[in-house]
């Protein structure tokens, strides 16, 4: 028995296939069309796990592109899916901080993985993956290189929260000759602070899971950890938690 969860986010589309135990996943860029991307993810998942579409009994769509997936059995919000995914991976998780490409959210769950409260950030790129992307571009680096670049350097404070202003701030810091590693470190601190202030608007409960594309950065995870002194759980693959949750929900519906 197989179920599939597909999470079409603003930057990446993620897919997970689940048989009650093992999982297999695919991640591709969303590009212009979440519909095309989710179809592609479905195709790749089937190839990767070597099964036929008929063998999949349930497909759940989530993420902002969930409304553009004609082939799903059901669409569920990314909030519920993240909650289920994080709970499936670690039963001790009670608060989830998810920072994705264009939004961030915090979710509280109970011992059954049911949501008790949640908040989403404003419709603005501050403190999201998009912010990181823009800043990495200014530094002439790839996002994945930022962790190494920081290299424990003293953070140079980035005062603007707004992506547009922060971009010009970084440009002028570079012009002043501030070392890139200090700037990179400042950028990581800035994102982490936004995450922490979102967390602080909810009643933070141990353990805290840190998920979403931005959670791939160990440095950001460490800074958050220092600031909130709670046990932080980072899933091995932080990007697929929503898709996994969708697949788990679908699977449970089959039982």
């Amino acid at each position: 028995m197989y179920s599939i969860g597909i999470d079409a986010g603003s930057v990446a589309t993620k897919g997970v296939i689940f048989d009650g135990e093992k999982i297999e996943h695919v991640i591709i860029p969303t590009g212009w069309s979440p519909k095309t991307a989710s179809e592609e993810v479905l195709k790749q998942l089937l190839v990767k796990s070597n099964i036929k579409k008929e063998d999949v009994e349930r497909i759940i769509g989530t993420g902002y592109g969930r409304i553009s997936m004609p082939f799903v059995d059901k669409a569920i919000t990314e909030i519920t899916c993240h909650a289920k995914g994080a709970h499936y991976l670690n039963k001790k998780v009670r608060t989830i901080l998810d920072i994705g490409g264009q939004d961030s959210k915090v979710i509280n769950i109970d011992e059954n993985g049911n949501i008790t409260d949640f908040l989403m950030n404003d419709k603005c790129a501050a403190g999201t993956g998009r912010f990181l992307q823009v800043m990495a571009n200014v530094l002439g680096k790839d996002v994945s290189e930022l962790d190494d670049l920081t290299n424990n350097a003293r953070p140079e404070a980035i005062t603007s929260m707004c992506t547009v202003f922060a971009e010009s701030e970084v440009i002028s810091l570079l012009a002043k000759g501030i070392p890139k590693e200090n700037i990179a470190s400042g950028i990581m601190h800035s994102i982490a602070s936004r995450g922490v202030s979102l967390l602080e608007r909810i009643n933070i409960l141990d353990d805290v899971a840190f998920t979403g594309g931005v959670a791939r950065s160990d440095v950001i995870g460490r800074i958050i950890n220092d600031k909130i002194s709670k046990t932080i759980y980072k899933p091995p693959n932080s990007q697929i938690v929503g898709a996994l949750g969708a697949a788990v929900i679908g699977y449970r519906e089959l039982l």
């Binding site: 909030i79 939004d103 059954n112 949501i115 008790t116």
Partner: protein, 433 residues
């Protein structure tokens, strides 16, 4: 709609700009209202009122004025309609719920003012709202700071009377509010040339109480397990209560209720079984602000009650009609009005009691706390409300949103997630039954 251009011209309106406004409203209304399934027949009257919102009702107002009556506009449920009616004037609620007026409002007000205030000022200064144009007097009140300062600006364009509403509810505040009602009586006597007597005030009290009773009758039907009417439609009825002819409104709403009562007997519902029931609480929603209700009811929820000024705060509690002297009547008015729990009062524990009570009465599953951006009083009061709801184990979500549709996608996700969150709770409750 018949041709009302001559009428509009006589009201000194900006016809070209007004045409733009008239172009968008019908399409918007069709999408939001006429697309609903299983609408009660009785809503046809309210469809008609909206279709004629800038037509027939305006013509009626013009006829009243031709007969020497005065039209008085107000912005807040604290302004006593009874007095307006007793002076044989016609009252209209002038709330402004459209984005259309915001740019004109921003010519006069800071951008970080609440959309309701901006739209009101924009509606007047752009000369595109025939209701504003029909008013002989506007009545403001000292509730929030945004409104207080806006009156000074509106006052440059149209005669304004401001009632000084206390911000606390001590004995001396009640005495003060009685005084304000007396001053209002004098003001209206002067405006209309009609003396307000015990008899005319008693008639005013009786009429407005009847309007409240019919709204309560409508809302009582929303307490039913099987909802005979959508939240969107009920909201529309309340909104129309603010400016329709009261006698006709009472009659038509009673007719609607008769139809709905039959539906209740037959266990007919406009929603699928198990649809989460939502109590909306917060800032007022003026025509054509149907956004939140529409989002809720197209994301898998149903609105069963509004703890807002376009909801229960408008009609709950009647004015005691046993007063015989003017003093007793004024006291009765003051008592009823100061029983309204608006967030501009400090402290305001009554509102929390109301929310908890309405949640039970209307068998709600969750609360959507709604506030317009830059509304300090309601946004700040959320903290206390949330604490109380958390304690009572009542799920709540805060939605801050203006009139534009820019945030529709994110709002939908948040609302859907909220309804998903209610599901396991409902299952547990059902299992315990």
């Amino acid at each position: 709609m018949a041709d009302y251009r001559e009428l509009w011209k006589s009201l000194d309106m900006d016809l070209e700009k007004h045409d733009q406004l008239c172009e968008v409203l019908p399409k918007f209304y069709d999408e939001i209202y006429l697309s609903q399934e299983k609408r009660p027949e009785g809503m046809n009257y309210f469809n008609f009122v909206i279709a004629e919102v800038h037509g027939l009702r305006i013509q009626e107002l013009a006829e009243h004025r031709k007969n020497g009556q005065k039209v008085v506009g107000s912005f807040c449920v604290f302004v006593p309609d009874e007095v307006i009616s007793a002076a044989d004037a016609v009252g209209v609620g002038l709330c402004s719920g459209s984005d259309f007026w915001i740019p004109d409002g921003e010519k006069y007000l800071p951008r970080n003012s609440c959309p309701l205030v901006k739209a009101a000022v924009g509606a007047k200064t752009s000369g595109t709202c025939p209701y504003f144009q029909s008013c002989d007097l506007l009545v403001g009140e000292t509730t929030c700071d945004g409104k207080k300062k806006a009156w000074e600006i509106l006052g440059e364009h149209v005669p304004m009377h401001v009632m000084d509403l206390p911000q606390m509810k001590r004995e001396k505040d009640k005495i003060h509010w009685m005084d304000e009602i007396r001053i209002f009586i004098d003001e209206l006597e002067e405006l209309t040339g009609n003396k307000i007597t015990e008899e005319s005030l008693a008639r005013g009290i009786e009429l407005i109480n009847k309007k409240r009773e019919v709204l309560q009758r409508l809302y009582d039907l929303r307490k039913e397990e099987n909802l005979p009417i959508s939240g969107k439609d009920a909201l529309l009825v309340t909104q129309i209560a603010f400016y329709d002819n009261p006698e006709r409104f009472i009659e038509k709403t009673n007719e609607l209720c008769e139809e709905l009562e039959k539906r209740v007997q037959n266990k007919e519902s406009v929603f699928a079984e198990g649809t989460p029931r939502i109590l909306v609480s917060g800032t007022p929603m003026a025509v054509p602000n149907w956004k939140l209700h529409h989002m809720i009811e197209t994301s898998g929820g149903s609105v069963v009650c509004e703890e807002t000024c376009t909801g229960t705060r408008y009609f709950e509690n009647l004015v005691d009609n046993t007063g015989e002297t003017m003093e007793e009547q004024i006291k009765a008015l003051s008592d009823r009005y100061l029983n309204i729990n608006c967030a501009c009062f400090t402290p305001n524990p009554g509102r929390i009691d109301d929310i908890l009570r309405l949640y039970k009465e209307y068998k709600a599953d969750g609360v959507v706390y709604y506030t317009l951006p830059f509304c300090q009083t309601y946004a700040t009061e959320f903290k206390k409300v949330k604490e109380a709801l958390d304690k009572a184990d009542i799920p709540v979500i805060m939605i801050e949103s203006d009139y534009s549709l820019q945030d529709a996608g994110q709002l939908k996700t948040r609302l859907e997630a909220f309804f998903e969150m209610l599901e396991p709770k409902k299952e547990i409750a059902a299992a315990n039954k």
